[in-house]
């Protein structure tokens, strides 16, 4: 008897679920659903899933709020105003003993000088240099693997580059510091053993896998019909590669480059260990030591008292870094979405 009612209940439940198959979260429970006895823990677990799914959104919000919370008091605290003027964070200032207004980061000087521009210049220098090396390498590699390599080579190369992506950045920093730096100085006669070039080579090793993976995906997703049509029209293979495949995959490749840039500008351990960390403001000389935003936070925060003006400025750097990478990520994602739209609309 009970079995029969249970069966009836299940039958109605089945039609109920059929209607819900459009993959929507269950809304208001109908009478039928509540008369069917699902174990309590199923319902609890479903609620938990819905709540836990919000964790990623919460994390992004909390990261922003709690970094900004440590930086924000700089706008009203009198302690801060006594030591640092807000405009000096960004604008060159004529300090006592200097001949002209300078951009200078010298947090332990007397008076402490907190101009963040040299740090951003340092970050940009290392990042651009790393991009200069990794973009051609990454895209070249992706083209070779996607267009030329035989299947067997591809099956080996892709996991190998994934392996490269799996190397912890502290190990790459160590490699740049111990091996590359000495070798580069002996070969090129750099004045500074640790400099922007050495750090950039280390950085390039972390970005190549990012650019490679996304570009390779993009090139693979170019429909065969396009390349076959071009070949049938008599185009040579290199013409197809450069004039058909690359333009079609361009949004994806651009996304790889943008995301790689974001990765490079936020990378900490490699630049901290291999860039020399001297905040020298020199736009065009790439063989000097540089101090990046990330390395500054990592190296200095440990020695600053909580709530100190220096502490607030370091958290401000964190907020700015977060903002920059946030925008780059959004741009990269949009580019990937555009690629998919473009390629699916064509077929």
């Amino acid at each position: 008897m009970t079995e029969q009612t249970l069966e009836a209940g299940e039958g109605t439940q089945a039609t109920e679920t059929r209607r819900r198959i459009s993959f929507r979260p269950p809304r208001a429970r109908s009478k039928l659903a509540s008369s069917f006895r699902t174990p309590l823990w199923h319902r609890v677990a479903e609620r938990m899933i819905a709540v836990l799914a919000l964790a990623a959104i919460a994390a992004i919000a909390l990261i922003f709020i709690f970094i900004a919370r440590e930086a924000a008091p700089m706008f009203w605290e009198s302690d801060f105003a006594q030591e640092v003027q807000l405009k000096d964070l960004f604008i060159a200032k004529q300090w006592k003993g200097y001949e002209e207004p300078v951009y200078i980061w010298q947090p332990v000087g007397e008076p402490a000088k907190f101009n963040v521009i040299p740090l951003f210049v340092g970050s940009l220098k290392v990042t651009l240099l790393a991009m200069l090396m990794s973009v051609p390498l990454g895209i070249g590699c992706a083209m070779f693997v996607a267009l030329y390599a035989p299947r067997a080579v591809r099956e080996v190369v892709k996991p190998t580059i994934e392996l490269l992506a799996g190397i912890p950045s502290v190990v790459l920093g160590f490699f740049a510091l111990m091996v590359l730096a000495s070798w580069a100085q002996a070969t090129f006669g750099f004045h500074f053993r640790l400099n922007a070039v050495v750090a950039a080579v280390g950085l390039a090793l972390t970005i190549v896998p990012v650019i490679f993976t996304i570009s390779e995906d993009a090139i693979q997703s170019v429909p065969r019909t396009l390349t076959e049509a071009a070949l049938a029209l008599g185009a040579r293979k290199y013409q197809v590669a450069i004039r058909v495949v690359l333009p079609a995959a361009l949004p994806g490749i651009a996304a790889g480059v943008v995301l790689g840039f974001g990765r490079a500008i936020g990378e900490t351990m490699i630049v901290l260990m291999a860039s020399g960390n001297a905040a020298i403001m020199d736009l065009f000389d790439f063989t000097t030591s540089v101090r990046t935003v990330t390395a500054t936070i990592a190296a200095e925060l440990g020695e600053v008292a909580q709530g100190d003006p220096h502490w607030r400025v370091l958290f401000l750097l964190g907020v700015m870094l977060f903002g920059v990478t946030f925008v780059l990520n959004i741009v990269g994602d949009l580019a990937i979405q555009r690629l998919h739209k473009k390629l699916t609309a064509g077929s």
Binding site: E46, A53, A59, M143, T268, L272
Partner: protein, 299 residues
């Protein structure tokens, strides 16, 4: 004739870029294995470092790294799997919420690791830890509101969340739609389908994601610099509020803060090799598992 040359040129140039990368990888691994392998011994792996940090072994760092990643996994993996289940099994692909979650996940993956360090300090240590302290221990006490293995692992859990979510979702996607429909048609509820049909079938792929996240978390140093990693600790962490030694942080500290880097060189190479073997074996395991679970699902 010129055209065939151009064909070869493009193939050659792109092939060359691959060779350059493989060459760098080979030099890197070669250097580390060559210099690190002679250092590794049972003594090196099981003893504590001497007071100068250079002599002795690195056991506390190995222990700290494993303990840290274990806590991280316990905290982060359930949340990551739940999010992936929500995205793939419950939310409609067009729902606003699902889109928002996806954007958040992608962005979280791109947040610089040092920013996670600031977050761990500002949120977990100062806000949560400090909050607990002022509630239960009075204002001046510092019981929870200080760097510790608990806060470091929670910070890393947030950092590795996107890895778990993305790989789990991929695993869930490989489960054929027909199996779900069959289960639903037989009268199973959505949750029963997920729990009894989808998850067991996606087990291998989910495990891959967990392993990748562990490997990523084990190698991250920047987030834990202010959140609980210690230069030198004479004891092993037993309490959640203890600080800990860490392989990656040990490498960083020895390479940059040691008074005599030449004397530290063998220990450094040995530590780097241990760290690399740890992350590589995890990655390799993940690659094998993924290949296997894909083969199992192939019709």
């Amino acid at each position: 004739m010129r055209n065939t040359k151009k064909d070869w040129l493009l193939a050659g140039l792109t092939g060359l870029s691959l060779l350059v990368i493989l060459l760098f990888l080979a030099i890197l691994l070669g250097q580390i294995v060559w210099n690190g392998a002679p250092v590794i011994s049972v003594k090196f792996l099981t003893e504590s470092p001497g007071a100068d940090m250079v002599s002795g072994g690195i056991w506390p760092a190995i222990y700290g790294t494993v303990f840290l990643t274990l806590l991280m996994t316990l905290a982060g993996v359930p949340v990551g799997i739940a999010t992936a289940i929500f995205l793939n099994e419950y939310a409609s692909p067009r729902s606003r919420l699902a889109k928002l979650v996806r954007i958040a996940v992608n962005n979280l993956a791109g947040v610089p690791s040092i920013v996670f360090g600031l977050f761990g300090l500002g949120f977990f240590i100062i806000f949560v830890g400090g909050g607990i302290d002022s509630l239960f221990y009075g204002d001046s006490a510092r019981v929870w509101g200080k760097p510790s293995i608990l806060w470091a692992s929670l910070t890393l859990a947030v950092l590795t969340l996107p890895v778990v979510i993305v790989t789990t979702e991929e695993a869930l996607k490989t489960v054929p739609r027909e199996i779900r429909d069959a289960s639903l048609a037989l009268g199973a509820t959505r949750f029963q389908t997920v729990y009894k049909i989808v998850l067991p079938n996606a087990k291998g792929g989910i495990l891959t994601g967990v392993i990748l996240a562990v490997s990523r978390g084990a190698g991250e140093v920047a987030p834990i610099i202010f959140c609980g990693a210690a230069n030198f600790l004479p004891y092993l962490p037993t309490d959640l509020r203890d600080m800990f030694m860490h392989l990656g942080y040990h490498v960083y500290a020895l390479a940059t803060q040691s008074p005599n880097v030449d004397a530290a060189r063998p220990t450094l190479y040995g530590t780097v090799l241990v760290l690399l073997m740890l992350t590589f074996s995890l990655n390799l395991l993940a690659v094998i598992l993924r290949a296997r679970s894909r083969a199992a699902l192939r019709p």
